[in-house]
C-alpha cells in the first residue's frame, strides 16, 4: 500500500509528535527547548510552526492542557493541592492565580460548582435529557432511577 503523502508531511509529523508528547507528559517538568531539539527544529522555528497548527505557542498549549486536566481532576473531587502538583505546577498560588485568570473562578469554587452539578446528574438525571429523547427511550415512565440500581 502506498503511503499518503501531502506537502511538508515530515514537518507535520514532528509537530504532532511534540503535541502528543505534551498531552502525555503534561505532569512532568517539560523544557520546551528539549522538545524543539527532539523535533529537530530551532526553538523559534518550532514555536512558529506549532502556533500555525494549533493557534497557541507550545507554552500556551501546555498550560491549556494542564488546566484542562485540572478541571477534570477537580470534577472528581480531588483537592486543590493534589490537583496542583499532579498536573505539573510547583506553586499553589501560581496554579490558583492562573486558573482564576483563565476560567474566571478559583479552583475550589470550580470544584464545588462541578460537584453540585454531578450530584444533580446522579439524583435527577432526567433534568439533563431533552424530553423528546427521554420519552423515545421510555425513561419518563420511571419515577426514580435510583430505585432501578437497587
Amino acid at each position: 500500500m502506498v503511503e499518503f503523502v501531502y506537502p511538508k508531511v515530515y514537518l507535520y509529523r514532528r509537530i504532532v509528535q511534540a503535541k502528543l508528547y505534551m498531552d502525555q507528559h503534561y505532569m512532568e517538568p517539560i523544557d520546551l527547548n528539549n522538545i524543539a531539539d527532539e523535533a529537530l527544529f530551532s526553538k523559534f522555528h518550532f514555536i512558529r510552526l506549532f502556533k500555525k497548527s494549533y493557534g497557541k505557542t507550545p507554552h500556551q498549549y501546555l498550560t491549556a492542557v494542564r488546566l484542562e486536566k485540572a478541571k477534570l481532576l477537580l470534577q472528581t473531587g480531588a483537592s486543590v493541592i493534589e490537583v496542583c502538583f499532579s498536573i505539573g505546577f510547583e506553586s499553589i498560588s501560581s496554579f490558583t492565580g492562573l486558573f482564576k485568570t483563565t476560567l474566571g473562578v478559583t479552583p475550589s469554587a470550580y470544584r464545588l460548582q462541578q460537584t453540585r452539578i454531578l450530584e444533580e446528574v446522579q439524583a435527577v438525571p432526567l433534568k439533563f435529557v431533552p424530553n423528546c429523547f427521554a420519552e423515545a427511550k421510555g425513561w419518563t415512565k420511571k419515577s426514580n432511577f435510583q430505585e432501578a440500581h437497587i
Binding site: 503535541k19 446528574v121 446522579q122 431533552p130 427511550k137
Partner: protein, 136 residues
C-alpha cells in the same frame, strides 16, 4: 425563530467504546454522563470549541425506539458505514489528520484540496463517517 442546534444524535454500537473514541481519540469533552437505570446512560459529548452542542452517543438497543428486528437492521447499517452524520471543522487539517491517524482513527478519504477547502473523511468506532474540513 430557531436560534441554534443544541443536540444531535449519533447511533453507536457500543457506548463505552464510543466514549473512548470520541473522548480519547477525537479529544471531545464529556458534557453529560447520566445514569438511566441498569446498563443505560445518557451520554453526550461536545467538540472542545463548541461546548453548547451536545452530541448524544445513542446505543442501538431493542426498546422504545427500536424493535428487535429494526435494532438489528440499524446495527447492520451503521456497521456498514451507511450514515454520514456531519462535518467537523479544524484549523489545520494535516496536523489533525496526522494526530488522528496516530491514534488509530480510520480514514475513508485522505485530506484533499477541493474547491470549498481541504476535506478528509473518517469513521468512528461504530462505522459512522464524518467529514473533516479546513476552510480555505
Amino acid at each position: 425563530m430557531i436560534n441554534k442546534l443544541s443536540h444531535v444524535s449519533v447511533f453507536v454500537l457500543d457506548q463505552d467504546s464510543a466514549f473512548n473514541f470520541y473522548v480519547n481519540k477525537l479529544g471531545f469533552r464529556v458534557h453529560t454522563d447520566a445514569p438511566m437505570g441498569p446498563g443505560t446512560r445518557w451520554l453526550t459529548v461536545c467538540p472542545p470549541h463548541q461546548p453548547e452542542l451536545e452530541i448524544s452517543l445513542m446505543p442501538i438497543a431493542e426498546g422504545m425506539m427500536f424493535t428487535k428486528e429494526s435494532a438489528e437492521q440499524m446495527r447492520t447499517l451503521v456497521r456498514q458505514g451507511t450514515f454520514g452524520f456531519g462535518v467537523f471543522e479544524c484549523a489545520d487539517i494535516y496536523a489533525t489528520y496526522e494526530e488522528l491517524k496516530s491514534k488509530g482513527v480510520e480514514f475513508k478519504k485522505e485530506p484533499k484540496k477541493e474547491f470549498y477547502g481541504i476535506e478528509a473523511l473518517f469513521k468512528d468506532d461504530s462505522g459512522n463517517w464524518f467529514s473533516l474540513g479546513q476552510k480555505p
